[in-house]
Amino acid sequence: MGLALRDERVDVQPEASPGASTMALARAAAGGDSAATGQLLRLLAPRLSRVVRAVLGGHHPDVDDAFQQSLIGLVQALPAFRGDCEPIGYATIIAVRTALAMRKRSRIEQSRREDDVETDATPEPRRSQSDEVAANRRKEVMRELLDLLPPEQSEALAMRIVLGWSIKEIATHSNAPLNTVRSRLRLAKEALKSKIEANADLVAALEVTS
């Protein structure tokens, strides 16, 4: 399914829901209330869709699958939800993990299928004056890096950069000590640094110099 198709269908934007009612819905859903579950999915869907698209990239062929698997994953995880955090954070973690897993799997499958194909077959814009093109290029570099990092690091980096979460928020949602999160981020950023520095053209395109 192409991006154009996805973009055509969207002309309905659910309104934001107050946190309290979302929490009430989540608690009811965790208790097995199917109507509440449906309502919760409807409420969280726009956010989860954005998260999945951000992690995977809007053009990724598995965007829809990842989004739907995120919703399914949320349904599966709801019985464990105790209401000690915001449901949106709980759901977002699931979406990030699902999207990261799907990216990695997709990359593996693609490498199996295209062993003989040049890796630069995907057209990537170089040196553009367009901010949007440059931003897309940066995001794609980030997504490629997420494929290569160990899961804990890629998750922490995605939460940090894609979701814009603070270290404390990452620690809270991933149930890891603050210093562990710091360490994961430091390692991930070192990998990011290496990736940038290894590509002179990229450095120029990204307008970053060491």
Binding site: M1, L5, R6, E8, R9, V10, D11, V12, Q13, P14, E15, G32, S34, G38, R42, A45, P46, S49, R50, A54, D65, F67, Q68, L71, I72, G73, V75, Q76, A77, L78, P79, A80, R82, D84, C85, G89, Y90, I94, R97, R105, A135, R138, K139, M142, R160, I161, L163, G164, S166, I167, R182, L185, K189, L192, K193, I196, E197, V203, L206, T209
Partner: protein, 339 residues
């Protein structure tokens, strides 16, 4: 240790994460801003991160960005609850015996798995969903649930996902600080993999041994779901038409109307979508009634039938006052009527 070395270590190992966070929130004072800038001048990684955070911020938080993919949500609601919950009552067709109530659903009471027939008619996709539940609960043994052998024929190709061939990828659920007693078990996602040829071969004798019979609504619905996941929309519509013609009042057909309606809407055919939404709503209430009403109003909107669209949006809010689409509905009414 020289000052240069210390400086280098700071750049490499001590990225000022807190300053970056507060910078993103616009909370830095002049001194902090100067400290951050001094670091950024030397650290390409943090400059890159800062740019990236701004890039992704637009994608994640902006209100104007992607709207609810309601068709996909409806599809998931149908899947997780199954036609037995998502649909309506149905009349007593012969295929009523196909047990949609046995669909694995985390929202419904777990059905006893005593009936071989129940095990035999489940969709490949839903089987995967069942695996999610069962594996998460440590009941991996239940993976042996079968899939209907006529599915490849219905699909016209090998299913993309099949439980026996599936590769499980562990996606841990959020851990928990929010879970006091039971840490949520890992969610096992069944990776879409091509069904190995050997799997089809192994089933061949069974296929040959069974007398041919027409697929029932459950099989058609399952095949439609899988075809949709493959993006084979021609097949989806063909199976939907067959469902509609042969089993117009089955629960599967009802669910199919809602999900295919949204698919038609997505593909730029609001007229056909409207027909499906009208059919769904004419069949009485169901779990997808809200989605069907949103879809109907959207279809009327796109067809330029403004008066009817306005009525439809109002009806949505009247029927579902708490719908997350209420704001959009009110806005549309206001626009359409000039109120």
């Amino acid at each position: 240790m020289s000052a240069d070395v210390v400086s280098s270590l700071r750049v490499l190992d001590l990225h000022p994460e807190e300053l970056l966070e507060r910078d993103a929130l616009g909370e830095l004072d002049d001194t902090e801003r100067a400290r951050l800038q001094a670091h950024l001048d030397r650290c390409a990684t943090c400059r890159f991160e800062r740019q990236l955070r701004a890039d992704f911020e637009d994608e994640i938080d902006a209100d104007h960005l992607p709207m609810a993919p309601i068709g996909l949500v409806a599809d998931v609601l149908a899947r997780v609850s199954g036609p037995s919950l998502a649909g309506n009552t149905r009349e007593g067709e012969a295929e009523d015996e196909s047990d949609v109530a046995a669909l694995p659903s985390p929202l419904a009471p777990r059905a006893p798995r005593s009936s071989a027939r129940r095990r035999a008619v489940r969709a490949v996709w839903l089987l995967s969903a069942a695996a999610l539940v069962l594996l998460a609960g440590g009941a991996a043994a239940a993976i042996g649930l079968g899939r209907h052998t006529s599915l490849p024929e219905l699909l016209g190709y090998a299913p993309r996902v099949s439980a026996p061939a599936a590769m499980a990828t562990s996606i841990p659920a959020p851990k928990a600080h929010m879970v006091t007693a039971a840490v949520p078990a890992p969610i096992e996602t069944i990776a879409p993999v091509e069904t190995p040829a050997v799997a089809a071969t192994a089933e061949a004798p069974t296929l040959l041994a069974r007398p041919h019979r027409e697929p029932g609504p459950q099989e058609l619905f399952d095949a439609e779901t899988i075809a949709r996941r493959h993006g084979d929309y021609a097949r989806v519509f063909a199976l939907h038409r067959e469902l509609d013609q042969r089993f117009p009042r089955s629960r599967e057909t009802q669910v199919s109307r809602a999900t295919v309606g949204h698919l038609l809407l997505d593909r730029g055919d609001p007229a056909a979508a409207l027909t499906d939404f009208d059919s769904y709503l004419a069949g009485g209430s169901g779990n997808l009634g809200e989605e069907a009403m949103v879809g109907r109003a959207t279809a009327l909107d796109r067809l330029g039938r403004t008066t009817e669209a306005s009525v439809a949006w109002r009806a949505l809010v009247a029927a579902f006052p708490d719908t997350p689409y209420a704001a959009h509905a009110r806005a549309r009414v206001e626009t359409l009527t000039g109120d």
